[in-house]
């Protein structure tokens, strides 16, 4: 006999959070196989802070090993390891110590600088790098909270850049109107681009991961076309795939003068943190997002329009990623941009959102950390010859560890939640 079984099964796949195995051992239920990835997803995006911290520590440790392994002095000392092992360890210690000191010097505080004003520069530089990561990370995190995996950051940023950039160089308005109009247009472009994925997901069931990836490519090639076509985005009189420079009236001004690399975009990103927190914790919209993210079935029964929520959350997420694209073209790269303006931030944002446990203030912390990695990584490379790729590997390792919380817990001997689980009680018990 058929409850609408097929529909159920489909819903099961979408189940963000079925019932948790409670620590009490009562009502020990679990998601069914079809929803297993969904459970892993939920766990990865909303697990404990301890796991985030553990993942960070493990990744940095792994980074140390790589730094030591790629260091020439260490390799040399390792050649006679068995006669004088101490040399290897001291060389390794020196390599790692110097590398992380350089990282610190490039990211937080330049202890070799003469004045406070110079010593503080790296920290502000880190915040500057953190700005687009923060905005885009919030966009990804918000989608996570609603149970959606927004991999489309790249496309959303590119479209936002198209919108904001075109307004920025083609129109003529006084500051700050010009800047604000450019921002609004850019943010709207990002929102609409993500909204396409939301619409397709809500009303056709297309998986948002696939749709957003494809939209990335569409945005990329669309931008390439626009940049290569005179009269569209290409700077007049140039054959390069690059736009004209932004007009001064559209530019986000430096916050602390030209000596420091930080612009108004950072303030907007901070405001976005508060805004996202408010939406999630204090507004009906966010309540609906969270309910749909954690249990779409219960949300539907409670009269929440799950489809509409899906569209809305993608619009808001896209707007946030769009803010990242906007700060890129109006604040960071104001001399005109090309199709690489996203700088991989759309994907780094996923890492940032994961490390920040999809919580607004967590994302803030994670974005600043990653901004510091970016700022410090290049100094580390320049000063100590440590390849910057190691920083990227460390970032990737963080995600890897976060996606496998049991591994982190095992390494740090943390208790595994819900130890052993018994199979979930089937819902279609009487399907006969």
């Amino acid at each position: 006999m058929s409850t609408p079984e097929e529909e159920r099964e489909q819903q099961d796949v979408e189940r963000a959070e079925s019932v948790q195995t409670t620590a009490t051992g009562r009502d020990t239920k679990e998601v069914d196989d079809g929803a297993r990835w969904r459970e892993a997803f939920t766990r990865a995006v909303s697990g404990g802070w301890v796991v985030s911290l553990g993942a960070l520590i493990l990744a940095v440790l792994a980074g140390s090993i790589m730094i030591a392994g790629t260091d020439e002095a260490v390799q040399e000392a390792f050649g006679y390891f068995f006669s004088r092992p101490g040399d290897t360890f001291s060389a390794a210690g020196a390599a790692v110590g110097n590398a992380y000191a350089a990282l610190f010097r490039g990211a937080v505080w330049d202890f070799r600088a003469d004045s406070f004003a110079m010593a503080i520069r790296p920290a502000l530089n880190s915040l500057n790098f953190a700005t687009p990561l923060l905005a885009a990370g919030l966009g990804v995190a918000l989608a996570f909270r609603a149970g959606l995996f927004n991999i489309g950051g790249q496309g959303q940023m590119l479209m936002a850049a198209v919108g904001a950039g075109w307004v920025g160089f083609a129109l003529d308005m006084p500051w700050p109107i010009h800047m604000l109009v450019a921002m609004v247009v850019g943010i709207s472009f990002g929102a609409l681009w993500a909204g396409i994925a939301g619409l397709l997901k809500a009303y056709t069931g297309a998986h948002e991961v696939i749709v957003t990836i494809m939209l990335n490519w569409i945005a990329f090639y669309l931008l390439s076309f626009l940049l290569a076509t005179p009269g569209l985005l290409q700077a007049p009189g140039s054959a390069n795939p690059k736009t004209a420079a932004m007009r001064d009236s559209a530019i986000m001004p430096d916050l602390l003068g030209p000596r420091y690399n930080i612009h108004l975009g950072f303030v907007f990103a901070l405001l976005a943190v508060v805004l996202v927190w408010w939406i999630l914790q204090r507004s009906r919209l966010g309540f609906h997002f969270r309910a749909v993210g954690l249990n779409p079935h219960a949300a539907r029964v409670a009269g929440i329009d799950v489809e509409r929520s899906t569209v809305y959350v993608m619009l808001v997420a896209g707007a946030l990623v769009g803010l990242a694209g906007t700060t890129q073209v109006l604040g960071t790269v104001t001399t005109g941009f090309s199709y690489d303006i996203d700088a991989g931030i759309g994907f780094d944002a996923i890492t940032v959102a994961l490390l920040g446990r999809s919580a607004p203030f967590g994302v803030l912390g994670a974005a600043i950390l990653f901004g510091a990695f970016k700022a410090g990584g290049s100094v580390m490379q320049a000063a100590e010859g440590v390849p910057i790729e190691i920083v990227l590997v460390v970032q990737s390792l963080i995600v890897l560890f976060i996606a496998a919380p049991p591994l982190v817990r095992a390494v740090f001997r943390l208790p595994q939640p819900g130890a052993r689980r018994k199979p979930r009680r089937e819902k279609k018990e009487a399907a006969a």
Binding site: S18, T22, T24, R284, N295, A299, V301, G303
Partner: protein, 505 residues
Amino acid sequence: MRLELRGITKRFGPLVANDHIDLVVQPGEIHCLLGENGAGKSTLMNVLYGLYTADEGEVLLDGEVRHFRGPGDAMAAGIGMVHQHFMLIPVFTVAENVMLGNEKTHGAGRLDLEAARTKVRDIAARFGFAVDPDALVEDLPVGVQQRVEIIKALSRDAKVLIFDEPTAVLTPQETDELMSIMRQLKETGAAIVFITHKLREVREVADRITVIRRGTVVGEASPDSTDAELASLMVGRAVELTVHKDPPRHSENELVVTGLEVTDPRGTVLVDDISFTVRGGEILVVAGVQGNGQTELSEALLGLTRPTSGSITLNGEELVGRSVRSVLDEGVGFVPEDRNTDGLVGKFTIAENLMLDRTSNSPFVKGGVLQLSTLDQFAREAVEEFDIRTEGIEQHVARLSGGNQQKVVLARELSKDLNLLVASQPTRGVDVGSIEFIHKRIVETRDRGVPVVVISTELDEASALGDRIMVMYRGRIVGIVPADTPRDVLGLMMAGIPQEGTEAA
């Protein structure tokens, strides 16, 4: 084979699910494990079956200490388990399911299906089952699927058989058949552990009864104890098993359902031309074995599924074609059948769950902004009024026991201005103590003049709670009968056999 559990202790964090439990099951005996949901019966059996590792204590078979690292070990040692929810693969045949996990092969890994078929036929013949080894499991009725589970256990030469709440999905008649199968198994010398919370079944088949409460054995009871005695042992205090209610006083409110038909996307008719009326101040119980269209009926009432034809009017307002939101706004309270899937967000706090379906207007939302202080106050009052046992309103509902979770759902639905209450399986997975409370609240709602539709698969609940009982079978109404209709008549109706003198559908 003699099964003995000695001092089994199993902890989940601070909670002790099993606290030094001793249990002996002799061959040729049906030993009942009686206890409320959450008492620790299933945990104990999962320890025995190797799914959990005990923190303390040991399992002995014929006096010999055994360690099971998984169900495979337990099965090899002769322990078989018939799960509440069948562990069968629906698209496999009976024989394929029986051999699963224990496949005999010819050379080169070719499956020896014939051996499995023979085994199924042998065992079926021994117990007088009619089971076709080549039938697909998904085509079989529930009662037969359960027999496949039993055959599966017996095919591994199980000497100890554990039945975990086996009657939950059966009709009364199928339950009786299962009882006789259990007796036959007992005759062959098997040791049987029968886990249940249904008192009637216990008294019918048990040779010995062990009652578990809060993880400890609170005593043994003899099979000729009364229901009241067993219930008070289970709960730890005297329990009111009957529901006290006055004769209905009808109010103006009225739910009228006419010619309702619901089909699934493939066109299979799930609810077939159903018409009934519920007046304010009465409880209509929709009874029937699970999967006969009750779920779909309740979903249609709420607007979750759109009927293909027919109408639903509440106080003259047509509900068909409206969104769930607008149906709820008509003052419909809805207690879903599966609270964990459809009624609650496990990772939301109690307070958040209490406003889950009340976000469309004040008092909890004003101008799109949550009114948290109003909600907090409401949640505190609800916790108090509905006796929700919790550490506080900020606790996640996933951490509550089933009964307390259900009270959260009920508190939410009953605190609205109701014009209709639809409650599906309101006491499923709820402890006896809470059942009493929930029944009382439903009757109170009825006495306020609200029409109440209760969907229940439990005959006891239908008789106790209902003013009238409507029995459904294969999507149709078999009949609508008074609440005092005898059990066996209701049982036959649930099997689709209409009775003389009952109101025609």
